[in-house]
């Protein structure tokens, strides 16, 4: 068996780059971003601009000072910045996106070794961080807040799905987030099973153990479930690399979301659920490794 080839395969040039991938993610966010500006006004645009520019700046400055290769060109900081803005309410004061971005990029991403090495999703961690720090400055209201006090919201389920509601600026339109998701699936950037299983798990648990049947659809379309399922649970770095592992991740995140919403202290639960699963990604990979085609010829491979 000629297992080893002398002169390095592959020979043909590859078009794949991180930048192209991230550019696809940015493109996929455009519908939801436009909707945010249309619905919440220019302030939404300001939030995005602030967090994107802070994120990019932080990454560039950190890498420059640490004498590393400056990687802002790969657009991943832009994506993180956009996600941070997406997770904030329009009332957020200007310094909130700035703080969130600094924390996300410097502490969560760069300190762990930069792109690819961070354990937690930087954007989610950044948003959770500022929510904890500046709770009083970040009013939050969505269908979930109404349901929490046992009332049905004033708008219809249709409004909730389309995004004619309140909430963080990027999360309101489940429909447009889905459009972005379909684009990413079509471009093979994300694995379709992840958002489907994530939302599916929450839906299934809600149907099996309903709090109130009238709530179910509101619960699905409100809060950051779609944002998380389409964009956060599919982040390459902080989720498993195997197909099976990703499915496990999605189901786990969905189940945790349900539990937190139902019994936990957080209205939404999605961010915490994903961050919790982030910690397990490496372990899931270890367990969910595919069986090798060869039965371990010449290796100590056990399984």
């Amino acid at each position: 068996m000629n297992a080893i080839k002398a002169d390095g395969a592959p020979f043909i040039k590859s078009p794949e780059t991180v930048r192209a991938m991230m550019a696809d993610v940015v493109t996929a966010m455009i519908p939801a971003a436009v909707w945010a500006v249309w619905r919440f006004g220019a302030k939404a645009l300001l939030l995005m601009a602030l967090s994107v520019s802070t994120s990019v700046l932080c990454e560039g400055v950190f890498e420059y000072i640490a004498k590393k290769r400056v990687t802002v060109g790969d657009l991943s900081a832009v994506v993180t910045g956009m996600f941070i803005a997406f997770g904030l309410p329009v009332e957020a004061p200007w310094y909130v996106p700035v703080f969130a971005s600094v924390f996300a990029i410097i502490i969560v991403k760069c300190a762990f070794g930069g792109l690819g090495a961070n354990v937690f999703n930087p954007a989610l961690a950044g948003v959770v961080f500022v929510r904890l720090c500046f709770r009083s400055r970040l009013p939050y209201s969505s269908a979930l807040t109404a349901l929490a006090v046992g009332k049905l919201p004033e708008y219809s389920v249709y409004d909730a799905a389309v995004g004619l509601t309140d909430g963080a600026i990027g999360e309101v339109s489940a429909m447009l987030l889905t459009v972005g998701g379909l684009y990413l699936i079509a471009r093979s950037v994300i694995d379709w099973r992840v958002p489907v299983l994530f939302v599916g798990t929450v839906a299934a648990l809600s149907v099996l153990f309903p709090q109130n049947a009238a709530y179910i659809l509101y619960e699905l379309f409100s809060g950051s479930l779609f944002l998380g399922a389409v964009f956060m649970a599919t982040d390459p770095t902080t989720t498993p690399v195997t197909g099976v592992g990703r499915c496990v991740f999605a189901v786990g995140a969905g189940a945790l979301t349900y539990v937190m919403r139902r019994f936990g202290g957080d209205l939404d639960g999605v961010a915490y659920a994903i961050l919790a699963m982030n910690m397990l990604s490496g372990t899931i990979d270890r367990i969910a490794a595919p069986r090798q085609v060869r039965s371990g010829t010449g290796t100590e491979a056990g399984k």
Partner: protein, 411 residues
Amino acid sequence: MAYAMHGGIQYEYIDAMRAARGADVTDMAPPASLVLTLPENKRVLVRVGDRVLRGQVIAEADGILLHAPEAGFVSEAMDAIRIECDGTDETAATVVKTNKRLQDCTREEIIEKLRVCGVADSDGVAMADRVEGADGASVLIAECVDDIAASSSPASIVNGMKILMFALGVRQGVVVCGDDIIDAAKKLSEVCAKSKLIKVATVRAKYPQADKKRLAYAVTGRRASNEFVVSAQTCAAVYDAFVTGMPQTRRIVSVTKGKISKNIRAAIGTGFAELLKFAGIEVDDGDVIIEGGLLCGRRVSPGDAVGKTTRSLVVLRSDDVYERRGADVCIRCGRCVSACPEKLLPNYIVSYIRDGKEHAALSRGALDCDGCGVCSYVCPGGVPIADIITGFAKNHAREVGSEAQNERDKG
């Protein structure tokens, strides 16, 4: 029925080869001189100045007889044998037709025929040895996915299969075609229609599929079933050897550059430069010639020549040659994992290797990597994954020492 294979990628550059794969084969007249490269393990049976006839044994290379593809004079007989063809069509007296019917032959007779005719499989192993050593095979698989012989000689392929099945005592044969050569697959099906034992299956044409284990796995769904896999072209060579007694002296080679792709039947020993010229392909400065597949082949020079295992030649324009893309950082996107035909976790293996965790890398199957390069190709982070893993495997093999290595090679 189409079977799905795990891993691999479909990519654009190969469109031309695809288009040509089911297309016609052009015969190329042997050039003025033929060069038969010899391996280290060889016995040269001719001397400079000898006149050789077509089909005459001239050497033994790695245990396989090598024959003169054309009549002519030997002008070199050291590390390679060079024959200056004299343009006559004189055939050696040893080339004799078989008059017996297959049913009347014995297994030994067939094996002997394969040995005398020097038929090698696509890995360069003697078919005679493989048939002789095959134990309890239950199915014969003729691989027609990467092989371009499908359309040119469907009858020879199927008849060659029958011969092998007879010799192996196998009652089931499958011709596996890629779904990109539907026409050729149809022709094969027509030929097979009369036979109850042989059927045609198609698999999605993805790269790389010609690996035996994976192919068999995709068709039989079993990990280590007793399949006997040969390429379609080898089947045709078996048929020729059996019926005409003509040794293996021709290969069908697909030759590609950019949008041009042609299938050419050339004499073994035809220089690549001449082959490319015949195909109307120019090699510019900086172009890279690859034999055996765009991702996983090996680099050759125009001075090399067609051998018994040559099946494709690609000239990559200098602009199309793989280059490491700056970053070299794994973003854990998992593309290498879903693309790896060996179902390894290439990104983890690389990170173990880079962290010096040799044991972890080994237990993750680092040595199972066959260097196909798909992972490096799909990696957006520009990690030279295949280079790193194969480099590690080589080092490891060296360290383990030759004795242990021999044990492994047997396995």
